[in-house]
Symmetry: D2
Subunit: 143 residues, 4 copies
C-alpha cells in the first residue's frame, strides 16, 4: 500500500479568476503543495532530500488535471496524494482534489530525481531513485 497524505487548504480570493472560481493553473499549485506535504508526512521533506542525497530538485516532466467541479473563494478543499507508479528515475504522484465531499479534480505529476549531470555539474540529469526514499513513500505493509 502506498503511503498517502492529505493536504488541506482554504481557497483564497487571490486564487480565483474573473469567473469567480479557482483559476485552473492553480489546481497544479495545489497538487505541487500536496506532493511537498506527502513527502514531509512520509518523513522525507524536500529540504532534507536535497541535503542528504545531493538532489537538485524533483523536476516535473508531465502534469495532468481533469476538472469535474469548480472551487470558489473560501471553499475548504483537500488534496489526497500518493505515488502510484515508480520507474528507475521517475515517479508518478496521483492526486484527488476534494471540495468538501465533491471530487473537484483528479490529476498527476510525473517527477524526475534531478541530480547534477556527471559530466557537467552545471547541468542537471535524471538520477536513480534511492531505495530508502522509495521505501518511505511505498508505505510499509507490502514490501
Amino acid at each position: 500500500m502506498p503511503f498517502r497524505a492529505r493536504f488541506s487548504y482554504r481557497v483564497l480570493w487571490a486564487d480565483c479568476d474573473s469567473n469567480r472560481h479557482m483559476y485552473y493553473p492553480n489546481y497544479f499549485k495545489m497538487f505541487d503543495s500536496s506532493t511537498h506535504n506527502l513527502f514531509e508526512q512520509a518523513g522525507a521533506p524536500v529540504p532534507e532530500l536535497l541535503a542528504a542525497y545531493g538532489l537538485r530538485g524533483l523536476f516535473i516532466v508531465d502534469a495532468h488535471a481533469a476538472y469535474r467541479a469548480g472551487c470558489g473563494w473560501g471553499d475548504e478543499i483537500a488534496v489526497e496524494s500518493h505515488i502510484s507508479e515508480w520507474k528507475r528515475r521517475t515517479f508518478k504522484v496521483s492526486h484527488a482534489l476534494w471540495n468538501g465531499d465533491v471530487l473537484a479534480a483528479e490529476g498527476h505529476e510525473i517527477r524526475v530525481w534531478g541530480v547534477p549531470h556527471p559530466d557537467d555539474p552545471e547541468r542537471s540529469a535524471a538520477g536513480e531513485i534511492p531505495a530508502e526514499f522509495r521505501a518511505r513513500l511505498d508505505g510499509g505493509d507490502d514490501r
Copy 2:
C-alpha cells in the same frame, strides 16, 4: 487547416520559483494566455463571444503538459496554438511552447462551451458550439 496563432512573452522574475525556472503551473498560464490570443487573432475575442452568444465561459475540463526543457527569467518564449479536435460541446486546444528554438513544453486544454443551464440559470451547462465560431477557428482553406 486549423487557424494558428503565436503568443509571445518574456518570462518575468515573478514567474520563476526557487529552482530559478518558470514554476510549472505557470506553463498553464501561458497556455491559457495563448488560447485567449488565438481567439482574438481569429477575430473571436472572448469578450465578444460572451456578448454575442450568452456564453458564460470556455471552462477547462482537462489540461495536460509535457515538460522538455526549462524556461528562465528573461527568456523570450512563444506558444503556438490551434484547435486540434472538435466535439459538439467541447474542443481541444493544442499548444507548443518554444524557448527560443527549443521546444520547452507541449500540452493541451479541453474546454467546454459554457452556457446557463436551461433549467436553472444559476448553474452552467455545456452548450452546442456555434458553427460560425468553429468556422473561424478552423481556418478557411478546407471547409
Copy 3:
C-alpha cells in the same frame, strides 16, 4: 478597541521566488486574505456585504508594506489585522505579519466602499460606509 483577527497560513513553494523567500508581492496576498478573514470573523463576510448593501467591492486605493525579515517555504506565518482608521467612504486596515515570533512585515491597505455610480451604474463610485458595518469592525467595548 477595534475588532482584531488573525489569519494563519503556511508558506507554499508556490509563494517563493528565486531567492527562496516569499516573493514580495505575495505579502499583499497575505494582507488581502487577512482582511477577508477579519470581516468574516467579525460577522461581516464579503459575500454577505455584497448581497446586503449592493456593495460592488472594497476596492484598494493604497497599499504599503515594510519588510523586516524573510519568510521561507513551509514557514508558519500569521497576519494580525484591524481597522485603524475610518473616513466616510474609506477605511484603513493595518496588518502585522508574523513568522513564528518574528515580526516579518507590517503594512496597510486603504479600501473604498465601492458602489454603483448613482448617475451611471456601469461605473463604480465611493459610497458612505454603513454604520452597522463600522460598528462590527470597531469592536463593541468602547462605543
Copy 4:
C-alpha cells in the same frame, strides 16, 4: 537626470481577480518587472550584478502603491521607472503605471544592496552600493 526606462505589458486573464481587474498585488509584480527592466536597459542586468559584485539580491525593504484606476484583461499597460533616491546601502525606485494614457497607479520600492554578512556568510547584510552601479542608474548628465 536619473536614467529612466519603460516596461510594456499586456494584462493577462491570469492577472485579474473576481472583480475582473488586475489583482492589486499584481501591480507590484509590474513594479518588480519594471525595476528589472530598468537595470537591464541601463546596462546593469541583475544576473551581471550578481556575478560582478558578489551581490546576493536587491531585497525589498519597503513597497507602496497608490491606485487611481483599474486595469483589465487585455489592457496595454506600461510602467515608467527611475531611481529617485539614493542612500549608502539602499535606493528607492519610483514607478508610474500607465493604462494607455491614464495614470492607473504610482508607487515605489526601496531596495537594499544585499551581500553576504561579513561575519556569517549564511546570512545576508546590507552592503555599500558601488559607485559605478549608481553612475549607470543616475544617467550621465549631472555627474
